[in-house]
Structure formats: C-alpha cells, structure tokens
C-alpha cells in the first residue's frame, strides 16, 4: 500500500531557501508571485502483509522524515 508524506515548515520558521527563490523570481520578471513556500514529500510503499500500516508511516514520518522542531507532516493514502 502506498502513502505520501508531506513535510513542510511550521508557521513562522525562517526558510531562507524559499526566500532566495522568491527573490530571484522577482528580479527575473516573475513579479506575479505573491508567495512561495516549499516542502518535501516522500512516497512510501508498505508491504501488504504488514499490519498497522498507517501507524508505521506515522512513526517514520515523526521520527525520521520530519524534524518535529521545525517541521510539520501530513500523511495521504495514495
């Protein structure tokens, strides 16, 4: 079974990378952008025979894929 985990920055956390991308886009003429933010996603395929798939994905997201101090995550079934 497949899941997608979205990891993004918590509200208020500085994201220098998004800031730099936005600024570059502004200066090269893409001035139509009001806001740009950024995140990662992970597609995880869990073996069918295994139980509590969702719990596992949650655990992985919390412990490995995201950094709970600065990031949030959201899980989606694919």
């Amino acid at each position: 079974m497949k899941f997608r985990v979205y990891v993004s920055f918590k509200e208020g956390v500085l994201d220098p990378e998004a800031e730099a991308i936005k600024k570059t886009l502004d200066t090269c003429g893409f001035t139509e952008i009001r806001k740009l933010s950024r995140g990662k996603f992970f597609d995880i395929d869990i073996k069918d025979k295994c139980k509590n798939k969702e719990d596992i994905v949650k655990k992985i997201s919390d412990e490995v894929l995201s950094n709970p101090i600065i990031e949030n995550f959201k899980i989606e079934k694919l």
Binding site: G12, L14, I69
Partner: protein, 727 residues
C-alpha cells in the same frame, strides 16, 4: 492590557527576588513586561556573567602584543606589519542538543559575526565538540547533525574550517558541547569597536528580518502570550549562511569608508543586548522605534522584537554624512536595512512602538547594577585520589589496536572531510598535517597557527590542573607547528554554578588557566562562559576549552606530522611513566582514576622554544607533540600520516613497556631531524633531554620486543570506527 508583574512572571524570567527588588530601586517604580524582559536578558548569566565575573577578572589579559583584550566582541593581537588577528570562541551547546544541525550552524554564524563586526575578514574556523557515549541512542543523530551543520555554514560562506576536536564521553549524554572559534585578519587602523558615539547619529539595522526565533521559552510561557497567541510559540533559530555572506561582504565594504562609527552584531538577546551595550559603552542614551525594525512575521509585540534572536543581523551607528553611501552598499548586496533610532545624550534607553513610549530604562544604573555573585563553593567530594600504579598488562599490540580504533583516538576524517579546508587558498596545513592548523596571512610569508584543546578526564579529576594542562597543550601544539604562541581564547563549559561543587570547578579552572597563561606569557584575550550544562542533576565534566593562536614567520617552515625514510627519530623531553587518567587506563583498563600528569613549566618552556627554533631554521623533517595516548599513539600518527614505517627500540629504563609507550607525561615531542649531529649538539648546549628512538622506513611500525604492525593495518584500524558507526 497592561500585564501585571506577578511573582510567577518574575520567576519565569529567571530573576531572583533580590534582583527584582534591585529593579524596583533603579526604576523607582514597577517595570512593565517589556522592561522586565530587557532586565531579564541583560542580567542573565549569558549577558552579565554574574557567576563568573569576579573570577574572570583574575585572568591575565595583557602583553605588548595585545591590542584588545576581553570586553569587546573578540580579542585582538598584533602580528606586525600593521596586521592584527582577531579571534574568539563561542558555545552553542543547548541549541545544538535540541536541533543539532541548526544549532551548530547558527553557532558558527554567531562567532563569524563577532569577528567581522570588528572589521576583520574571517580566515579560519575551528571547533571543539563533545558528544555522549556512542552507544547512547541520540549520539549518532547529534554527531551527524552537528558536523553537517558546522560544515554547511562555513562551506557556504567560504571560510575554511581547518581543525578541531571531537570527543565522546558519557558525561555529555544529555548535554553536548559545540564550541566554535573563528580567526580573522584586520589592518590595525581598520579595527571597529562597539562603543556608541555621535549624539543624534542614526542607528541602522541591517540583515535578516526579525522573527520570533529563539525567544526565551520560559518567558513566552507567561500568561499573556499563552492565552492570546497560541501559535506564537518560540522558534528554533535557523541559519542563513547565504545572507551572512552578503552581510560579511557588505560590512567589510562599508568599513572601508568612514561611514560606520560603531558596530555590534545581534547575538544572544538580539536587539536588546546589542543596543544596550553600545549605548552603555559609549555613555550615551538611545532611542528606538520598533515599527521600523524589519519584521518577518505579523503582529509582533515590542517584547518579541526586542528579545528575538533571529540570526544574521547587525546594528550600527552611522555618520549621517554617509547615509547615502550606506544605503548604496546594502542595496548592492541585496540586504534589508532600516534606520531604527538614534543616539541621544540622555543616558536613557527609550523604546517607541506605534507612536507610544513603551519602555524607559536608565542605561548606566542598569549596567552598573548588574548582579555579580561570589557563589559558595566546596571541593568536590571524591575519594582521596593518589597516583596508582597497579595497571593491567595485556598484549601491547592489542592495546594499540584497541586505542587507535577507539572513538576518541580514531581518525576524524569522516568529520573533517565534510569541512571545506582549502577555500581562500591560504591553508598551509590543516590540523591533520600539523599539530595546529596553519593559515597563511594573505599575500605575505607569515602564517597563523590555530589549535584548540581540553582533556575532560584531566579536568574532572583535577579542575585546576586539567585547565592548566589544556592551556599548555595548546601552547605545545603551536610550538610543534613552529609557531610562537601568542594568546588564547577560552570557552568555559560547566554545570550549574549554584551548586557548590560546580562553582568550585569553575574557580579552580580559571585559576589553572591563569597560572598557565602567566607562566607562558600567553594571555587570554577573549572567551565565553557556558553554564548550566546539566540535566536531571547530572553535570558534564568540567570542560574549559582553550583556543590558542600563534605566529609563524615564514609559512614554508612549519612543523609537519611527518617521517622521512632512513631518518632518525628522537624523543624530546622526559618520560616518567604517568599513567593515571591516560587513554590507556580509560580504554584498556576501563577506569578513570588518579591525578592527571604534572607540568614543569621550566622544562615546558625550554623544550617548546627549542622545538620552535629547530622548525624556524628548517632543521626538521617531521615533528609531533606527545599527548593523548602517549608516545606510541604519537608515533602511530606519524606513520599513518606519512605512510612510512619505523623501527623503534625502547631505551634502557626502569619503566615498564606500558609506561614507556602509553604514559602521558607532558612537555614531550617526537622529532625527525634532517641532520642528527646538529640537533644533538643544539640539544646538548641547551640542556634538552633527547633520546634516540630509532629509524624511519619500511612498511611497518615496529617497536622491538613490544609490537609490530603493518602500516596498512594501522590505517584501516584508525579509519574504521567512524565509517562503521555512521553507516
């Protein structure tokens, strides 16, 4: 919506009842929340040094070559020809434990700013790291995060990270240490200070926009914030090395004109401490308009703006004639800037927000009244320790293998390969090739040598002697690189000073540093104190890290950890067989016991000067000082580095093989002369203890009647641990 100042609020600001009484006395009224916040950070341990000030004053800080000692953003020494070296070490221990990558990265960012604030271009970084037991579940994650955080920040900004230490011990399981040191270069007449001047002159803010980063957790928990703005939780500081690079270049460009009257980075306690300290040093007043502070987040309160610890920000006082020039430079570098206030002659700090006066604080009284404690202390209660001699003997080769493959003695290649060591093109030797890292002074033949050191086992057993030994070890490292040791910075990492035993450790350590510095004419020019490194009542080992800086006259003549085929190997200095607190006892016998070794300063100075002279005259092929692990570890490192073997004979002695090979007696070096007779002659006239050990060559490290090991095996053993641990 005035917040009532309750007892709880005072407590959550880490202010004692007496301190609060003092606030009432100074203000002659109750403070409001903003004012309370400002007092709390200004009187925090971090800003006021209230537990250590009394003792730090005793450090020797003067020499003819010291241009600026402690008290400014960094210390400065004169290296001749109008050049000066600016350096300091700073800790980022707690943030790195919470978020290792960002904590370490912003630690590097912070110390870099301290250096370029003074007008210097940073030319090298080093760092001193302490992690918990590798078996501790968190250690791997912390090690990974800290090393890549340090690397990424320095690499991106383009300052080489050329050396450091990385040491594991269970006393750091819940409190790791991340101490970063930066060395910068400045022309003597282009040094900038932080003391405010110029009544009416504008105060300019430049750099990252202010967010709610790193605002003191306890304070944020206070009633008002909790209920009204649940989402305004304090945030971890995130580093932006790209912005720091722009800030660095912009500041240095602006500093080449006469625009800047005074400048101060916004470090811990952000806008509060930077503005306050500038005004306080310059004996003037200051007015700030917080609406003008560039803000990253919406609805920020004055309290948050004043206490935010957003990184990559600077505060400067500008000569008004240069306003346009200033704007031009910052625009060129794409930096946000704003005039946020002015200097006044009132001696008072006034803070306005949306047209309203939000805080009025008398600067001088607040600074002068900053608490200074003489905290009670008692000698650590430990069983009476004396030198113990009953050590276990095992197969010597097995012992060497175990030591060379132990986490602390393993090659740190995994660590330093992540650091760009060659950027700026002046890295003559990183700390792998020589006992200290050597950086050429750009466009000259001079070089600075940089090293840092501290043996926590020594310090735990005897904080006085341990700290003293940390100083002498850096001094010896510099001599072994061929440098004249000039000055140190220190980073005092300890537990809770309100505990008597910890306060005892602190005071003893400072005394030990003072003693060594006086004896070696090696003053302290800057430093940092990090206290409360303890969790659930368990404190770290006392860890006064010393960063030493020395001068090399000709960068081509420096001490190399090197061998040359068929050349003779000599030992300089006396071996007494001191085994207690050694790597051997720790790794092989699995004990920490007894006292650390002693230093005879006469011997130390004599040997150090002798070694330096040999290197300056280019009389050596190789040189290495003997430290952790003793003679055999020193020899092994020379073999590994040069990929050349050696055959050594243990001289006739009353010592056992173990003592001869593994003891950690001080003031010793191994040298490989170009010409034996010359060295032996020079040693004899200077009354230096010198012993022929054997010859370099072959594919093995052979110590007759003791052990034999192939170079290849030695290299594999030495490299293995980190890669196994991290993969």
């Amino acid at each position: 919506m005035k917040t009532k100042i309750t007892e709880n609020l005072i407590k959550s600001h880490n202010l004692s009842k007496d301190e609060y009484k003092l606030i009432l006395k100074i203000l002659k009224r109750e403070p409001n929340l903003l004012e309370l916040g400002i007092f709390s950070v200004m009187w925090s341990e971090h800003c006021s040094y209230k537990s250590t000030k009394k003792w730090l004053k005793q450090l020797p800080t003067k020499a003819e070559w010291v241009i600026c000692g402690p008290g400014e953003n960094a210390g400065i020494i004169d290296i001749g020809d109008n050049d000066a070296i600016v350096f300091k070490m700073e800790s980022h221990n707690h943030p790195s434990f919470i978020e290792p990558y960002q904590g370490a990265a912003t630690g590097v960012g912070g110390i870099l700013r301290d250096i370029f604030t003074m007008g210097a271009r940073p030319i090298a970084n080093i760092n001193s790291l302490r992690f918990g037991d590798p078996k501790n579940s968190k250690t791997k994650h912390l090690l990974n995060g800290v090393v890549s955080g340090i690397g990424d920040y320095g690499n991106c900004i383009g300052v080489p990270t050329v050396g450091g230490e990385c040491f594991f011990h269970k006393s750091y399981n819940h409190n790791i240490l991340v101490n970063a040191m930066t060395v910068g270069l400045v022309k003597k007449e282009k040094i900038f200070y932080s003391s405010a001047k110029g009544i009416g002159f504008p105060i300019i803010y430049v750099g990252g926009k202010t967010g709610r980063d790193g605002i003191h957790g306890a304070t944020m928990a206070s009633a008002e914030f909790d209920e009204k703005n649940k989402d305004k939780r304090p945030q971890v500081q995130v580093g932006d090395p790209f912005k720091e690079k722009l800030l660095l270049e912009a500041c240095l460009e602006l500093m080449s004109s006469d625009a800047i009257v005074a400048i101060q980075d916004m470090g811990a306690a952000g806008l509060t401490s930077s503005s306050f300290e500038m005004a306080s040093k310059g004996n003037c007043g200051i007015e700030l308009e917080l609406d003008k502070v560039p803000q990253r987040e919406t609805k920020m309160e004055p309290y948050e703006i004043m206490l935010s610890e957003t990184q990559e920000r600077m505060l400067m006082i500008i000569n008004p004639n240069f306003k346009e020039k200033t704007a031009k430079v910052f625009k060129k570098w794409g930096l946000e800037f704003s005039e946020i206030g002015k200097i006044t002659d009132t001696g008072i700090m006034k803070i306005y927000f949306k047209g309203e006066l939000k805080a009025t604080l008398p600067i001088k009284p607040l600074a002068d009244a900053a608490p200074e404690y003489d905290r009670p202390r008692t000698k650590t209660l430990k069983k009476k320790e004396k030198t113990l001699k009953d050590f276990k003997t095992i197969n010597l080769k097995q012992a060497l293998i175990k030591i060379m493959s132990s986490p602390n003695q393993s090659s740190k290649e995994w660590v330093f390969n992540q650091y760009d060591r060659s950027v700026m093109g002046d890295t003559v030797a990183d700390s792998q090739k020589s006992d200290s890292a050597i950086i050429r002074i750009h466009n000259t033949n001079k070089a600075v040598a940089i090293t840092c050191d501290c043996n926590p086992l020594y310090c735990n057993s005897d904080p006085y002697r341990g700290a003293l030994l940390a100083v002498t070890e850096t001094w010896r490292n510099l001599c072994a690189s061929g440098a004249m040791p000039m000055a140190i910075t220190d980073n005092l990492n300890f537990g809770n000073p309100e505990k008597r035993e910890i306060m005892f450790e602190i005071v003893e350590s400072i005394k030990g540093i003072s003693e060594a510095c006086k004896k070696l004419k090696y003053p302290v020019v800057s430093g940092n104190v990090s206290l409360y490194n303890e969790t659930e009542g368990k404190s770290i080992y006392p860890t006064p890290v010393i960063g030493g800086v020395g001068l090399i006259k000709n960068y081509k003549n420096f001490g190399r950890i090197n061998l040359k085929k068929n050349k003779t190997i000599f030992l300089i200095g006396k071996t007494y067989g001191h085994m207690n607190q050694s790597v051997y006892e720790k790794e092989i016998m699995e004990v920490e016991r007894g006292k650390p070794p002693k230093v005879d300063f006469k011997e130390e100075i004599k040997n150090g000067l002798f070694i330096r002279k040999l290197i300056e005259k280019n009389l050596l092929e190789g040189c290495h000082d003997i430290s952790d692990g003793g003679l055999v570890v020193c020899l092994s490192e020379m073999v590994i580095n040069s990929n050349i073997g050696m055959e050594i004979k243990v001289p006739k002695t009353s010592l056992s093989f173990e003592e001869w090979l593994f003891s950690e007696d001080q003031s010793r070096y191994v040298i490989v002369p170009k010409n034996n007779e010359e060295i032996e002659y020079l040693a004899s006239i200077e009354n230096i203890s010198i012993n022929k050990l054997g010859k370099a060559g072959g594919k093995k490290l052979i110590i007759k009647n003791c052990l034999e090991i192939a170079i290849k095996d030695l290299i594999d053993i030495n490299n293995k641990w980190f890669y196994d641990y991290l993969s």
